[in-house]
């Protein structure tokens, strides 16, 4: 806007189609008018349709009683809770699976991406086969496969498979010992936080000293001792900070302990394996983008293989990796909405599914759902852009 105004202020506008500024102005007014008229027309039609079909409008329905159960909720929820509460439960479930999926997919993606560049022929080929298979099959199909073809045919809880002592896998998901809090829990976690903060401080000081004087301080060893040692001391003095609550076999199913639903497992597995295939390709491209001369120069300076990778290759590769990695993390978050197909109670399944069906307020429900994903997308982009700015090349 500013540019156009300045230019028109400088010299008088000619009232001719040949004046580019006037032309631009007319184009823009025209485009804006078309958008406004279209939106107005849609809104008017919607208003008429809604009043004709006697559909309620507004967001008042969020206070109404939901009246349906949700199989997994991280916050207290019951059938008497409101639709707004159900929305929060769905949102938490979405965020849970997206956060866990991101961590696992990035970890697996880095391993597979590095494995594709391995000098070991077999490892490289296996990683390539993994990537080419998984990324060429629709995610929804993979979710169906994990859920309907693998997890559902598993034996019932009575005949469940024992993965580890106390951890059981059956067609009702994974049951594992729960963690109960004790009197020393608070002190334990407080010490842990203090230890981590102290370690961060020491690492910063050590780095500052290294840059200023060239003297090395064994920060890694000291910090490991602090982070493990301090909480361990609390454990020894105050007793165990938590207790394990083992699951008991009831009449038909386990009671107690913590349970991962099969829907959750299938979704997490599918999202992780699928997204990791894409991340692996990004990591491979990133590492390959670092010229071979960099590695040779690092070796000539006497750096070891590990040091070369850690201090020379990865920092440069990250610059190439971060932007596409961000969009993969966003894709994973958005893809978690496929939960609705296998019945995991995520935001779309609970809110755009059950709540929409019960209230019939399609416009409000869909608008809220889309708004949430937009906010998540923008927030993730923002966070990753901050990180990207840190690792980007600082040019003079």
């Amino acid at each position: 806007m500013a540019g156009g105004k300045q230019a028109t202020a400088k010299r008088a506008m000619r009232w001719s189609w040949n004046d580019p500024h006037l032309r631009a102005l007319i184009w823009q007014i025209g485009a804006l008018a078309i958008v406004v008229v279209t939106l107005w027309y849609l809104a008017a039609t919607a208003h008429e349709n809604l009043s004709r079909q006697h559909i309620a409008t507004g967001f008042g329905f969020l206070q109404n009683t939901a009246g349906f159960g949700i199989v997994q909720s991280l916050i207290p929820y019951s059938e008497e809770a409101s639709y707004g509460r159900a929305f929060l439960v769905g949102l938490c479930n979405t965020l849970l699976v997206a956060a866990l999926g991101t961590v696992l997919a990035v970890a697996l993606g880095f391993v597979v991406g590095i494995a594709r560049l391995s000098s070991n022929w077999l490892v490289a080929k296996l990683a390539a086969a993994y990537v080419e298979t998984l990324r060429n099959i629709p995610l929804l199909l993979q979710l169906f496969f994990w859920y309907f073809a693998i997890l559902q045919p598993l034996p019932s809880p009575r005949e469940s498979l024992t993965l580890l002592p106390g951890v059981f896998l059956s067609n009702r998901g994974i049951v594992m010992p729960g963690i109960g809090l004790t009197g020393t829990s608070l002190a334990f976690f407080a010490t842990l936080i203090v230890a981590v903060l102290a370690a961060l401080y020491i690492a910063r000081r050590a780095r500052a000293r290294l840059l200023a004087t060239g003297q090395r301080f064994p920060a890694v060893i000291v910090n490991t001792v602090i982070i493990i040692g301090l909480p361990a001391l609390v454990w020894l003095v105050g007793g165990a900070p938590f207790t394990l609550q083992h699951a008991e076999m009831g009449k038909f199913d386990f009671t107690g302990g913590w349970r991962l639903l099969p829907e959750f497992l299938a979704l997490l597995l599918g999202l992780t394996l699928y997204t990791a295939a894409f991340i692996a390709e990004i990591v491979r491209a990133g590492i390959q983008s670092v010229g071979h001369g960099q590695t040779e120069a690092a070796h000539a300076l006497g750096l070891s293989n590990g040091q070369t990778l850690r201090l020379v290759v990865i920092p440069q590769a990250l610059r190439v990796i971060i932007p596409p990695l961000t969009s993969q993390i966003l894709n994973l978050t958005k893809n978690s909405s496929l939960a609705v197909a296998i019945g995991y109670p995520d935001l779309v399944s609970v809110f755009a599914g059950t709540v929409l069906n019960q209230t019939g307020q399609a416009i409000e429900v869909i608008a809220i759902t889309m708004g949430v994903y937009l906010v998540i997308s923008l927030a993730t982009s923002f966070a990753m852009n901050l990180y990207n700015a840190r690792v980007a090349i600082v040019e003079r």
Partner: protein, 355 residues
């Protein structure tokens, strides 16, 4: 001969202790995964039979009779059997336009593209829907299987292309209003999951349309898919626009070409050549995403596989695994083929750049 293979093994698999350990680990993983799968898919699999009885019993593997007994449903859905030739003709006409388009040496690309994106879709729509006097009409409720998958994917890409080009030009425009409108549109569709777009198209769109206009479910989903993929297409095209040097635009303007002449004759021809691999990749993504339409009640290929799986006549313990493995194989063949083509075009386009 023997010594060279031993050398190869030593260099590639057993160069040091770490590599040897990795090799042994991978061999163990392969040993525990591949033979059971081969046993399931081939050795213990049931190959012949007329119904579920053949596939019942302990130790039986994949139930392949399920796949070939339902193959017609997987391809056409509930499309009337005596009219399926029309689908085949439409498909062959498309193939006749697509194959020369994909081979770079064949001339007349402009007319070929025109046939593919304008003439053929109209012929195909008439043939498949039968919406003309003299043809028997087939309701879209009866369409299904691979037919719907291809219709959604092809409509998505064909409809999103012109919209995507306009949006990309808009986003790079110097007019602030046009630029912000394009940016908002693109970022909105890219920020929401396709499934919410499909929900919106199937439950919200009817509320925004006047009473006289009635869109069936398939058409509503096509609108949603086209809007969604146009945003992704716009970003691909924008990448191509950015690759065209500024001097090209300045030179065109200096010659007195108007904006649309500059874009149509100078910038877009260069930009679009760059983004052919990107467009193919978008199409691969869209092709995989078409599976989501089953959530809003359409029966695409995967949806049709699920319908046949719920058929009591074929309900067997290995049925689900068989159906999904078969569907995965079909999708994989399509997507892998397209990704190979995209890689081939990328190499071809880069040839001029390599000195």
């Amino acid at each position: 001969m023997v010594t060279t293979s031993i050398k190869w093994l030593r260099r590639n698999l057993f160069s040091n202790w770490w590599n040897t350990g990795l090799t042994v680990l991978v061999l163990y993983v392969l040993w525990s995964a591949v033979p059971p799968f081969i046993d399931w898919a081939f050795v213990s699999a049931v190959w012949h039979g007329e119904g579920r009885a053949a596939c019942l019993g302990p130790g039986k593997g994949a139930c392949w009779p399920f796949v070939y007994a339902n193959l017609d449903q997987f391809i056409y859905g509930r499309y009337p059997a005596e009219l399926r030739w029309r689908v085949n003709v439409a498909f062959l006409l498309g193939l006749a336009g697509l194959v020369p388009m994909l081979i770079p040496r064949v001339p007349a690309k402009f007319w070929n593209l025109g046939y593919l994106v304008i003439a053929w879709p109209m012929i195909a729509i008439v043939l498949i829907s039968g919406d003309r006097p003299g043809l028997i009409g087939v309701d879209t409720d009866l369409w299904g299987g691979l037919l719907v998958t291809l219709i959604v994917a092809i409509t998505g890409i064909v409809a999103s292309f012109p919209l995507g080009v306009l949006l990309a030009l808009g986003r790079r425009s110097e007019m602030p209003v046009i630029r912000s409108l394009s940016t908002i549109f693109i970022e909105f569709w890219r920020g929401v999951p396709l499934i919410t777009v499909l929900f919106m198209a199937s439950v919200m769109l009817p509320l925004f349309l006047p009473r006289e206009i009635h869109l069936d479910n398939l058409l509503r989903c096509l609108v949603g898919v086209a809007l969604f993929s146009s945003a992704y297409m716009a970003e691909v095209v924008r990448g191509g626009l950015q690759a065209v040097p500024r001097g090209q635009i300045e030179a065109a303007r200096a010659l007195g070409l108007s904006y649309w002449q500059t874009m149509g004759l100078v910038v877009l021809p260069q930009a679009l050549r760059h983004v052919i691999p990107g467009i193919v990749n978008t199409f691969i993504g869209l092709f995989k995403d078409t599976t989501l339409v089953l959530i809003v009640g359409l029966f695409d290929f995967l949806g049709q596989v699920r319908v046949q799986l719920s058929d009591m006549h074929w309900s067997t313990p290995q049925g689900a695994a068989t159906g999904y493995v078969f569907a995965a194989f079909v999708y994989w063949v399509f997507c892998f083929g397209m990704s190979r083509y995209s890689a081939f075009m990328e190499r071809r386009l880069n040839k001029g750049m390599v000195r």
